[in-house]
Subunit: 199 residues, 2 copies
């Protein structure tokens, strides 16, 4: 398959690339690195990306920023960061990308364990990740031509524990390579509207 991988240069993206590139053609896309660059918060940038790449069999997104901070100091403007980036950015990849997918193709987005297991400073993340999963649930029943959409919800990734450990006390991390299996399952499997939890 020809698979466009957005977020290819991140910790998770590199593991997904390693897992899928053995049997697929991966087009790596990063924010500032990779074969192509994209700003998922920009409609023009996402449209330009797909115009440059052309038709694909699968779209995999492992990218998106959110706002972390204490609820009592949080502003709506800060909350909107996650809505515009990890949420609407990934939705934009799906809405634009659906028209570039071959029949039977798939979209795989990324949420996270915080959707279900709130953490301190994580109100934006719980909302955003829940919304990404909700979007896939809603989109799955409408996609035509056998197109599929799923979400991978990783726990905190082992390779990121040096930064994130204080926010995830007692959470069991998973190596990026293990999380990458869930993306393969979404891309190569038959299901749609699923959330693959790696936790």
């Amino acid at each position: 398959m020809k698979i466009v991988l957005i977020g290819a240069t991140g910790t998770l993206g590199r593991a997904i690339d390693a897992q899928l590139s053995a049997s697929h053609q991966i087009i790596p896309v990063g924010r500032s690195r990779g074969q192509h660059q994209v700003d998922i918060t920009s409609q023009a940038s996402v449209e330009a990306l797909f115009k440059a790449i052309g038709r694909v069999d699968a779209i995999v997104s492992a990218t998106g920023s959110m706002h972390f901070g204490p609820l009592t100091e949080m502003t709506a403007e800060q909350f909107n960061i996650g809505l515009q980036d990890k949420l609407l950015g990934q939705v934009r990849l799906a809405l634009v990308g659906q028209h570039y997918l071959e029949d039977g193709g798939s979209i795989t987005l990324t949420s996270g364990i915080v959707a279900n297991e709130p953490i301190r400073y994580g109100a934006n993340a719980t909302a955003v990740n829940s919304a990404v999963e909700g979007f896939a649930r809603g989109a799955a029943i409408e996609l035509p031509r056998g197109l599929r959409i799923n979400v991978v919800s990783p726990t905190v990734v082992t390779e990121s524990m040096d930064v994130y450990a204080p926010y995830f006390p007692g959470f069991e991390p998973a190596p990026a390579a293990r999380v990458a299996l869930a993306y393969q399952r979404s891309v190569e499997g038959p299901q749609t509207g699923q959330v693959y939890r790696v936790w």
Copy 2:
């Protein structure tokens, strides 16, 4: 209790007002009607509302617009309507309003059955309603001073079936008066971080 009710002039809002006004002081707020007006998409408008009202014991929101339309024609700009209105609008009421709540006060927001049960043309609604529930889940663990936050998830309301019936085939509607009980449960009960499903 002194309760500010945003969306007081809508079908659901009027039923909540009727249910709660027997034993509480309700401050009805509408978009263009009611004792006070607010545009929940405007930070200045929400701040002005709470400055005018002052401290309250409970904030109840039964308002917010979303985008409905076929996924294959949906744009990110359209999707953002629901993010800015029903999602960020209600989050803004909570983020600003938390500072006006008396100790032990509560926030009650509104999601909807489409969060869990997708309907045709409803990808935005499933995402937005899921995010509202996620926000409450995340916010509940951080609110200080015994403050609480819950969400009511109504099925399609009987009084709105003349408009919405075609989008909810076989869904069992609930009278607004029955849905209103869930708001009372959130306001007067002890729980936090809950989603009260009326379906």
